[in-house]
């Protein structure tokens, strides 16, 4: 096994119960994700990519199979350890931004640091730095509903990197944004990935993501269709174009 594998998905199956019908959403997915890579999980709606994303993030439990983060089976973690993992190891970015509506941009960014035991002053200081990075320092006192979608997503990105996680998980980060703002968010994620060495895993069907991805995993009907590295990718995209 590769030394720098940070996430290992091993034969993950997920079934959902819809009424009396059991739907088999993930049909045994195995995946190794290397540390520091920018990885996109591509697939049409309903292909199971969001479900896979939730499994990797420890937000949901697989029906069978295992997910390892740093070679630790996350199904074995208790509530404290799982909370620690979500707090320190993983930063989440969602399609619907999911900022806490009653808190200002700065408070949203500092919340994970407070959970991580950082003192209030230190958290405020770092929060401002992070907002500076995403270009929203002057809007730190605004509530989410006073910000545009793109700005909210930038705050969410700043929040995701607050505790210097090893992994950023982004579920359709550009899904609710227009073309230009979407591109800005992608560029921001790419920059964070290359500057901070963070592993970015993003579930998406936005083809703009292809340009920046080191690796693309194509999911279809709950199974991995193909995995392409960056060099192979440019050829297949070229063929389409």
């Amino acid at each position: 096994m590769n030394q720098s594998t940070i996430v290992r998905v091993s034969n993950v199956v997920k079934n959902f119960k819809l009424g009396k019908v059991e739907v088999n959403v993930l049909k045994g997915i195995s995946l190794d994700i290397e540390s520091g890579k920018y990885l996109s999980i591509m697939g049409p709606s309903g292909s199971g990519k969001s479900t896979l994303f939730n499994m990797i993030g420890g937000l949901d439990k697989p029906t069978s199979g295992k997910v390892f983060i740093d070679e630790i089976d996350i199904a074995q973690l208790d509530a404290y350890e799982l909370a620690w993992l979500r707090c320190r190891k993983i930063g989440y970015i969602f399609q619907t931004f999911n900022l806490i509506p009653v808190m200002t941009a700065l408070e949203n960014v500092t919340l994970p640091m407070i959970f991580a035991g950082v003192s209030n002053n230190a958290a405020m200081g770092k929060g401002m730095e992070l907002l500076e990075i995403v270009g929203l320092a002057e809007r730190h006192g605004h509530k989410p509903f006073e910000l545009s979608g793109g700005q909210q997503q930038r705050v969410a990105a700043a929040r995701a990197i607050a505790n210097d996680p090893a992994i950023i998980l982004a579920d359709e980060p550009t899904g609710n944004l227009d073309l230009k703002t979407g591109e800005e968010i992608i560029a921001l994620l790419k920059r964070l990935s290359s500057e901070k060495g963070v592993t970015v895993i993003s579930a998406t069907h936005d083809l703009k993501m292809l340009n920046v991805s080191d690796q693309v995993v194509w999911i279809r009907d709950g199974a991995v269709e193909k995995i392409e590295n960056r060099d192979e990718l440019s050829i297949s995209v070229g063929e389409i174009g």
């Binding site: 070679e71 999911n98 806490i100 009653v102 959970f115």
Partner: protein
């Protein structure tokens, strides 16, 4: 924080994820302030229920004060006004009075549980997000309990004062200033504090079940619920 090589588990975790009490109070307070209108509705049901309780109790205090004057004409006036005057003992001890108090408490409980259930359900997504950021279940429960306690104290204080005010005004209108003179203020104070305490307890009881239910949800379920 390190990974223990032998067991492959994270160690010392419980000390790492933390939400200081002061910060919880701050978040809870802000949350009420920002959602002022919503909190007001939740609190209003509490105010109404507690004011009814306090009205009934203070009314009894007034009636007992008047009875203690031992004047036949007041007794007749009270009987005319519809009081059940027992042969002995206080007015509040009659079964009918007790029924009224129990009934008012029941109405109060349902009103508060309903209002708190709504308030928590509206915030499922927020709860799910907090859990994704590393919040433990008990942080969530603690935030809701703090909010409920603040609403409970404020709401029942206002409610009990309103109830007492109505009871005293009613007494003045029906029996004149003598209802005032005979009033045992110690009993009124006891009635008020009883009403405030009941209100706070009910507010906390009302929020506990929805808060625990919400905190136990997997983050994914919590965030899916609003989509």
């Amino acid at each position: 924080m390190t990974v223990e090589p032998k067991t492959g588990r994270y160690v010392q975790v419980d000390r790492i994820v933390a939400l200081p009490f002061k910060k919880s109070v701050e978040i809870a307070f802000k949350s009420i302030k920002v959602r002022f209108f919503r909190s007001l509705i939740t609190t209003l049901s509490l105010v109404l229920a507690v004011s009814f309780l306090s009205y009934v109790q203070v009314n009894n205090n007034i009636a007992n004060g008047l009875l203690s004057l031992n004047r036949p004409q007041i007794r007749t006036a009270m009987e005319k006004a519809g009081y059940d005057i027992p042969g002995q003992g206080d007015i509040g001890s009659s079964p009918k009075q007790r029924w009224i108090v129990i009934l008012s408490l029941l109405v109060c409980v349902f009103g508060i549980v309903n209002a708190q259930l709504m308030a928590v359900t509206e915030r499922f997504r927020e709860i799910g997000t907090m859990k994704c950021l590393g919040a433990l279940d008990r942080f969530i429960v603690r935030l809701f309990l703090l909010e409920a306690a603040m609403q409970g104290v404020a709401g029942s204080a206002v409610g009990s004062l309103i109830g007492a005010l109505f009871a005293i005004c009613g007494g003045l209108l029906r029996f004149g200033p003598q209802s005032f003179g005979a009033l045992a203020w110690g009993d009124v104070a006891a009635s008020l504090s009883m009403a405030v305490a009941t209100g706070c307890v009910l507010s906390l009881v009302g929020v506990t079940y929805p808060a625990i239910m919400a905190a136990r949800m997997q983050p994914v379920e919590a965030m899916r619920s609003e989509k």
